[in-house]
């Protein structure tokens, strides 16, 4: 079903709230992986507020859709989503990264309800997701497994090992999304380790590729709808995004992979997010 206008405006509003909550969480934590959190926020929003079949009151419900955040370092963007959905208390976010907190830089399935796998060591998420998708087949379950990868982590060989398995075993109940923000810690992806032609690589591994603007809910929605119904081959959605999306001084700047915010930067960030939101709502 295509997004209705009301759904679209609700998603815009939710993503705006979550971006703000992500900034707050970075402030409470002292620092965090804000750039990649903001690039992924629209993807997280549409998954958690439109597509994932989950019940936050039953985080281990057997039939739930699984979500694996392979780019596990963006916990500071994921935790606000889990808090907003009710898996954890919003007050918990204020303890982010604090000694003894259940919320660390990389969210941990042993400690945080709603996290389906502890990730952070990159290149692990897609194979775990393949295992979950295969388990659905063996256990005759109808759930889907979604996996969000960072583009930089696609340097890891294990991503492509998993990609081979996914097509070999025709794992079409798996939906892979790559947050293609083109930045990694040391610089632009194409300078550090070139990924292009990225879509062709996935195609060569047997995936059906949908390339979209990762900040357009309409495009994301169409691609996810397609991936859900496609049963000939696994689908990867390459979501072209902007690192630090929504905050002018961070946008598309790889140096904002990780950082902290002083009071001046906090004000700037909030102002910028508001302007960005108004612009998006006008365009929506």
């Amino acid at each position: 079903m295509p997004l209705t206008d009301i759904e679209l405006l609700n998603l815009e509003k939710k993503a705006h709230e979550l971006r703000n909550l992500c900034v707050d969480t970075v402030v409470w934590a002292g620092s965090g992986h804000i750039g990649g959190s903001l690039s992924a926020m629209d993807i997280l929003t549409i998954l958690y507020y439109k597509y994932l079949n989950i019940d936050p009151s039953k985080p281990l419900w057997e039939d739930r859709d699984r979500f694996i955040l392979s780019k596990g370092h963006v916990g500071v963007g994921f935790a606000p989503v889990l808090a907003d959905k009710g898996y954890i208390d919003k007050e918990d976010l204020k303890e982010y990264n604090h000694t003894g907190s259940k919320l660390g830089m990389h969210l941990d399935s042993n400690k945080v309800p709603g996290v389906d796998a502890s990730t952070g060591s990159l290149g692990h998420g897609l194979p775990i997701a393949v295992g979950m998708a295969l388990a659905a087949r063996i256990n005759k379950k109808g759930y889907r497994t979604f996996c969000l990868l960072g583009d930089g982590e696609c340097d890891e060989g294990s991503v492509w090992e998993a990609a081979m398995s996914a097509t070999h075993y025709k794992v079409t109940n798996l939906i892979t999304i790559v947050d293609r923000n083109r930045c990694m810690i040391d610089g632009p992806t194409e300078d550090v380790m070139a990924l292009e032609p990225f879509a062709k690589k996935w195609e060569a591994f047997g995936f059906i590729v949908k390339e979209v603007n990762g900040h357009s809910f309409k495009e994301l929605s169409e691609a996810i709808e397609y991936a859900i119904t496609e049963d000939k081959a696994p689908v990867v959605i390459i979501a072209n995004t902007i690192k630090g999306c929504g905050i002018d001084f961070m946008a598309d700047n790889y140096k904002w992979h990780y950082g902290g915010l002083n009071s001046e930067k906090i004000t700037q960030s909030k102002d910028s997010l508001e302007k960005y939101y108004q612009k998006r709502v006008k365009g929506a």
């Binding site: 399935s109 194979p127 295992g131 979950m132 388990a135 256990n139 398995s165």
Partner: protein
């Protein structure tokens, strides 16, 4: 499950890995949640027996160990019990990050049956020898580490692993092992050493293929030297049987460990840690591969070369017995 009925006759006909494959098939009959995985080594590791019987529950990832262990993690998260088999060196090193983070850290019910361990693939060359895995794997929290003495004990260990929640690493050899046990009907318990010979002059603590050698050495020491050696099959390296070690320290005051593994970090280190922490005096020697990359050769030749065969154990026991060691009758005052 219990009720295993394997005997020496079976281990005459079946290699240690084939025993594993057979037992896994038996388990698979009763437990549909068991799945198998291998990385292009289904035949070599004998998990292929399970693959033949349950093709829908077996996954070959190709030569991609990292992917395989992560897939096993995902499956275990969804209630399946994956048995994963590749060579020990690829389990403990090639895929260690995945074993650590995806399986051990998340305390998942994945059973790793790693073959071709120690020097058992001797002629394959040093790149395929695996003399570091016990050290690596026993430092993984949540993980149990088992090194069975022969095919019979492997059968028991595989069942024990299934019946134990959480991750388990079982280290077995390529090919046939010398027979230690007559049948599966003995008191095998994960975490409990099995005493094979009694004696109070010294204790030989061994694991894996060195257990048979330890028994043979004890026989020679008894007939030639008049020494009564206690022999412990320390099949579980983690959790180690502290009680059996401390009893041996107390009652025999001389301990020698034997393993087909680097002397750093393996069985000997695990036993040594218990002794040192106890504060009790003991003459102690570790036999194993010295801190070196091993030479190429037949398994039995390499065991002789590194003095972890019968003769090597006998010679080293004689040196240990000859050492000055001031015995103190008042055990209780030692700290």
């Amino acid at each position: 499950m219990g009720g295993l009925t394997y005997t020496m006759l079976d281990t005459t006909n079946l290699s240690t890995a084939e025993m594993y494959g057979n037992v896994l098939c038996e388990l698979g009959e009763h437990h549909p949640e068991i799945v198998g995985l291998s990385a292009d080594l289904a035949k070599s590791t004998k998990i292929g027996l399970f693959a033949n019987k349950f093709p829908d529950r077996f996954f070959n990832t190709g030569i991609a160990e990292q992917n395989m262990f992560s897939i096993a993690s995902g499956m275990a998260k969804c209630g399946l019990v994956p048995f994963v088999s590749t060579f020990a060196i690829f389990t403990s090193m090639r895929a260690l990050d995945q074993v650590h983070t995806d399986i051990c850290y998340q305390n998942l019910n994945v059973k790793m049956i790693a073959t071709h361990a120690g020097l058992s693939f001797g002629q394959a060359g040093t790149t395929h020898h695996c003399t570091e895995d016990i050290a690596i794997m026993r430092s993984m929290a949540n993980l149990k580490v088992i090194v069975p003495a022969d095919g019979i004990e492997t059968a028991n260990a595989v069942v024990g692993a299934y019946e134990t929640d959480g991750p388990v690493y079982i280290r077995i050899n390529r090919g046939f092992d010398q027979k230690v046990y007559e049948n599966t009907d003995y008191d095998f318990q994960i975490g409990k050493a099995h005493q094979l010979m009694d004696g109070n002059d010294l204790t030989i603590i061994a694991c894996g293929s060195c257990v048979y050698q330890a028994i043979e050495a004890a026989k020679i020491l008894s007939s030639v030297d008049g020494l009564k050696a206690r022999v412990l099959d320390m099949h579980t390296i983690k959790p180690i049987d502290r009680e059996a070690i401390l009893k041996a320290v107390h009652e025999t005051r001389r301990i020698i460990t034997v393993e087909d593994h680097n002397v750093i970090g393996g069985l000997g280190s695990a036993v040594g840690e218990v002794i040192v922490e106890s504060g009790k005096g003991c003459a102690f020697r570790k036999l194993g591969i010295p801190d070196t990359f091993s030479i190429i050769g037949l398994h039995e030749d390499l065991m002789a070369y590194y003095e972890i065969d019968t003769n090597g154990i006998v010679e080293n026991v004689r040196k240990l017995i000859g050492l000055e060691f001031e015995e103190d009758e008042d055990w209780e005052d030692e700290v």
